[in-house]
């Protein structure tokens, strides 16, 4: 927990934050509406004798009482998919519509890409990209299990991604769920902080900036780009969005979210960020008893 001490000045009720980070996180699943309705998924879980609790911010997100969420009829049928509660947030903020062209830049293992497809009723084009070929097989497995037919899977570096292979030259929306230092997953992965270093944060921030810039360039004017990480480090969050604001035509916009969250920062260390970064969301483990997350919503302005 030592690395998290640096956030004491920016996190309210820091002791409750640390205490939450030390508590293991329970199982959560998302209902996959490509294959069934919310009602039928719940009835299937009840038939299985499983206890669940619906998240009050989203009826498709469930907390599940079981040691083996993968060995249930609802999972076998692809009615539910194991996905951490906060990990269901970015696609909801992205708000994709049926028939659109959407890019998930860092899509493996596919929980969010298939959620995007579900939000579009599996109608339209979801380009699910990942630079890691090893993780592409997990992405494809999940897409097929969940019945997502609107996915096109590519294996490239998102920073210099080419749309030449497709029959269109820009996206309506893009999700940058960036590779990060994963501090916010500490409740799921107790060793998440083992290799923590400021040097690592700095090098991953460079990659994040490159991916976010390319996502904005590849999205049409008036389109939406959502930037998210599962980490607390401002260098990987507000600083990355600030870099995009300074270099690409975009602005930070408000969004509604039924979860309790803290506003994005406007300063950290010696840096100051644009005041609109307060429109971003910092989701802390002690607020909703979840993992940690950062989400910002951008509108492309040219």
């Amino acid at each position: 927990m030592e690395p998290l001490e640096r956030y004491r000045p920016i996190i309210d009720d820091f002791d409750a934050f640390l205490e939450a980070c030390e508590r293991p996180l329970g199982n959560a699943v998302r209902i996959n509406t490509i294959k069934t309705s919310v009602e039928r998924a719940l009835a299937t879980l009840e038939e299985d004798g499983l206890e669940y609790e619906q998240a009050d911010w989203n009826p498709r997100v469930l907390r599940l009482e079981t040691d083996s969420p993968g060995s249930t009829w609802s999972s076998f049928h692809g009615f539910t998919h194991g996905q951490e509660e906060v990990s269901a947030v970015p696609p909801i903020v992205l708000d994709p519509q049926s028939g659109e062209r959407v890019w998930d830049c860092c899509a493996a293992p596919g929980g969010k890409a298939t959620q995007i497809a579900a939000l579009m009723d599996d109608e339209g084009t979801v380009v699910a990209n990942d630079n890691n070929l090893g993780r592409i097989s997990a992405l494809r497995f999940n897409a097929e299990r969940l019945g997502a037919t609107s996915l096109a899977v590519t294996n490239d570096d998102a920073r210099n991604y080419s749309l030449n292979r497709f029959s269109f030259d820009e996206f309506d929306r893009a999700l940058v769920d960036a590779p990060c230092s994963c501090e916010g997953t500490i409740r799921k992965n107790p060793d998440a902080l083992d290799n923590w270093s400021e040097g690592h944060i700095s090098s991953v921030a460079g990659i994040q900036k490159g991916i976010l810039r390319r996502a904005i360039q590849a999205t049409r004017e008036g389109g939406t780009v959502v930037y998210s990480t599962c980490t607390f480090a401002p260098e990987e969050n507000e600083a990355v969005v600030q870099h995009a604001l300074e270099n690409e035509p975009c602005r930070v916009v408000d969004f509604d979210l039924g979860l309790e969250y803290d506003p994005g920062l406007t300063e950290w260390d010696d840096e100051t960020y644009d005041s609109t970064l307060e429109r971003a969301a910092r989701i802390y483990p002690h607020r909703n008893d979840t993992g940690g997350f950062f989400v910002a919503k951008l509108e492309v302005t040219a």
Partner: protein, 169 residues
């Protein structure tokens, strides 16, 4: 004719056999007719989908936009294998579209469904329909739900659920 299938890329299926340029490639019409003839899945079910081939006889179903040919990792899902004499739908396709089927659906009791999901073969004498590939299904929350693809021969239903999708339930 004369062109060969290129296993490295996706090619959209021709609408009809007359329009094909690659020897042996099936047409969209043939695929849609097969699902209709064998399983009673109405052709209109696929009005918003296109069909593609990558790898000889491996057919994919896709809802999005794409030019043909296309060299990427995957589009949509694999739905059918046409290389053998008897075409074989995939378990994931059957789970996604099988609820539209009216024929060649074998309804299983809970214990039979459990064995099917675990990938086991089992004796089932009561089936009086066609032999060959059937959709295994069972009752879930008051409705019939497809489990996957099975092969029925000589009174035995062999689960074709791929290893990675098998579960002990």
């Amino acid at each position: 004719m004369g062109e060969q299938n290129d296993g490295q890329r996706f090619d959209r299926l021709p609408a009809t056999p007359d329009e094909r340029s690659v020897e042996g490639r099936v047409s969209r019409e043939a695929v849609v007719d097969y699902f209709d003839d064998r399983f009673g899945i109405p052709p209109a079910t696929f009005d918003d989908h296109t069909f593609w081939e990558k790898g000889a006889g491996k057919i994919w179903i896709y809802a999005g936009e794409a030019p043909t040919p296309l060299e990427i990792e995957a589009i949509g899902m694999t739905c059918l294998r046409t290389r053998q004499e008897h075409w074989k739908p995939t378990t994931d396709f059957v789970q996604r579209f099988g609820r539209h089927a009216t024929d060649c659906v074998i309804e299983l009791e809970r214990e039979e469904a459990r064995a099917f999901a675990a990938g086991e073969d089992q004796e089932i004498e009561r089936w009086e329909g066609d032999w060959g590939y059937l959709i295994g299904a069972h009752d879930v929350a008051g409705d019939v739900e497809p489990l996957g693809i099975g092969l029925y021969v000589h009174g035995e239903l062999r689960s074709m659920v791929p290893k990675g999708r098998q579960r002990e339930l």
